[in-house]
Amino acid sequence: MSTNGSPAALDRERTLAPFGRRQLTVSANESLGAYRVLKAADPGGPAPSAGQFAMLAATEHWGAGVDERPYLPRAFSYARWDAGSAHFLLEDVGPGTHRLCELREGDGLWLLGPLGRGFSVPDDGRRALLVGGGVGIAPLAIWQDELGAHAELHSSASTTVLLGFRDRAHAAGAALLEDALLASDDGSIGHHGLVTDLLADELDRDAGVTVYACGPPAMLEAVRALCAAREVPAQLALEAGMACGFGACYGCVVPARAGYLRVCVDGPVVDATELEHVELHAGSPG
């Protein structure tokens, strides 16, 4: 098989991954409210496109935890790419994320990536509107960076950022992005309610936007429905439990208009119009 179409360097949505996982060294694991930000220098890796992800595993003690797990690597969106260093936003919700949250400076990290298809720039004349929920804010941070660094590629004069969290401790994650409007489930910070309440207000004010969203399935479905009703273009970064990350296992599928999509190779970023709805029980192994 030879490469068809445009060279990878020009394909802004999909940077090709080196073949095979590579061993990195953790340079920092910083607390950010209820989250951790894991940083690792990746001298062998290409810069990811915003919205792409990597499969991560600890090189030591991956396995033999609770229930002899974790066994498979875990998928994480790149949250930032800073001069050859990859940043990931972690929340300890299961045996895999727990082990990764424990890693310290100097520990080994397996990384396969960048994988999948990322965000593409707004259509002509539209502003970017970023909507995130919980740990799903991660790919929006690197996308905000890219939109700022490549202003010549789009006509987005200013970017609006709306982020929703469970509570104040989780809302500390908003520090990954600039100038975000916040919502919280418990009202401890920002709007007391859903981030999609803020989105509806924004779209009422100015529908000349392209929406970029990542977060829990129920939030993504609400974003999809709001945008569909107003005919606003939206790109959704989906999450699904996956075993491999490169299209081999067929485990991460979500229903779409054209049949099942593999989140890992057909996504994780999909055009909202590709979906009839966002599947609500997309489980991940934690």
Binding site: M1, S2, T3, A8, R14, L16, A17, P18, F19, G20, R21, A57, G63, D67, E68, R69, P70, Y71, L72, P73, W110, L112, L115, G116, A240, G241, M242, A243, C244, G245, F246, G247, A248, C249, Y250, G251, C252, V253, V254, P255, G259, Y260, R262, V265, E279, H281, A282, G283, P285
Partner: protein, 292 residues
């Protein structure tokens, strides 16, 4: 460390388990770097059926103790979609292509084999017999008498090497292997996944304690990964003792040391499966280490 298998000359003894590596998707993810270090000495396709299949509803995966339970449901484009869309891509691989097929009757299987027989891009055919017979409801591969009858019936449909992928979910896998050989198989491969179920409590996310229900959309699934290696070694050893045709051994192989164990109990080739999910280049590493 070249090796002969059913008339094919392979550069080394490491191949992939059917359904554990998608060379076309991997090309999208890795580009031509995939081919510079292609891990497998022959490439085994995922299972192809006569009609297209969407596969099972999600969720399809469950991480088990040192293993993975999957309920994928053999999604594929069907025979005609495979030949029209996938075969031209797979033919560009620099290694022999083994096409895996499955049917629910001897007639269906024979049709699949005849179609493969006409394609020079296909070097050999692997027959997945972990499929219920439409007439008996039994998995074709779980009963030696039925297996021998089906293999004998479809054998004339192809002159290409015919490998039977045995099911481990049977009473006596050695007897099933003998039956496949008696029916005319040129080789056998094992083990397929072990039938398994993953349960979660109802309402576990909300902290309530409830009755356990199946997690997988397909109800039950198949277990693979490191957890099954001891079972796989026992079954491969039992089969290698019973047949004189070559054996492809697989089940939880993660290293060259594991691959050597399968070779030592009588396998001619060793397939890497779930370990490729953890690292797509794992089989390349294992093949390199085997050379040393």
């Amino acid at each position: 460390m070249s090796v002969e298998f059913c008339g094919l000359s392979l550069a080394h003894p490491i191949v992939n388990g059917s359904g554990t590596f998608d060379a076309i998707a991997a090309q999208r993810a890795f580009g031509d770097a995939l081919h510079e270090r292609f891990p497998f000495a022959a490439f085994v396709s995922k299972t192809i059926t006569l009609a297209p299949r969407a596969g099972n509803p999600p969720p399809r995966l469950w991480e088990a103790q040192a293993g993975l339970i999957n309920s994928i449901g053999l999604p594929n484009k069907g025979l005609h979609g495979y030949i029209a869309q996938d075969l031209p891509e797979l033919a560009r691989l620099r290694v022999p292509l083994i096409t895996n097929v499955m049917g629910s009757s001897a007639e269906e299987i024979a049709e699949l084999l005849r179609a493969c027989d006409r394609r020079e891009e296909i070097a050999a055919v692997e027959l997945n017999v972990s499929c219920p017979n439409v007439r008996t409801g039994l998995d074709i591969g779980s009963d030696p008498t039925q297996l021998e009858r089906v293999v004998a019936a479809v054998r004339p449909a192809t002159s290409k090497p015919l490998v039977v992928k045995l099911t481990p979910n049977c009473a006596d896998v050695g007897e099933c292997a003998r039956a496949a050989e008696a029916g005319g198989a040129d080789g056998v491969s094992l083990i397929n996944t072990l039938r398994a179920t993953a349960l979660v409590p109802v309402g576990s996310r909300s902290g309530m304690r409830g009755r356990a229900v199946p997690w997988l959309g397909g109800g039950s699934g198949g277990l693979s990964g490191a957890a099954i290696r001891p079972v796989a070694l026992a079954q491969v050893a039992a089969v290698a003792r019973r047949v004189s045709i070559p054996v492809v051994g697989m089940g939880g192989v993660q290293s060259a040391a594991h691959a050597r164990q399968f070779l030592d109990v009588g396998a001619r080739l060793v397939a890497v499966g779930t370990e490729s999910f953890r690292d797509p280049s794992a089989a390349a590493r294992i093949a390199d280490e085997l050379e040393d």
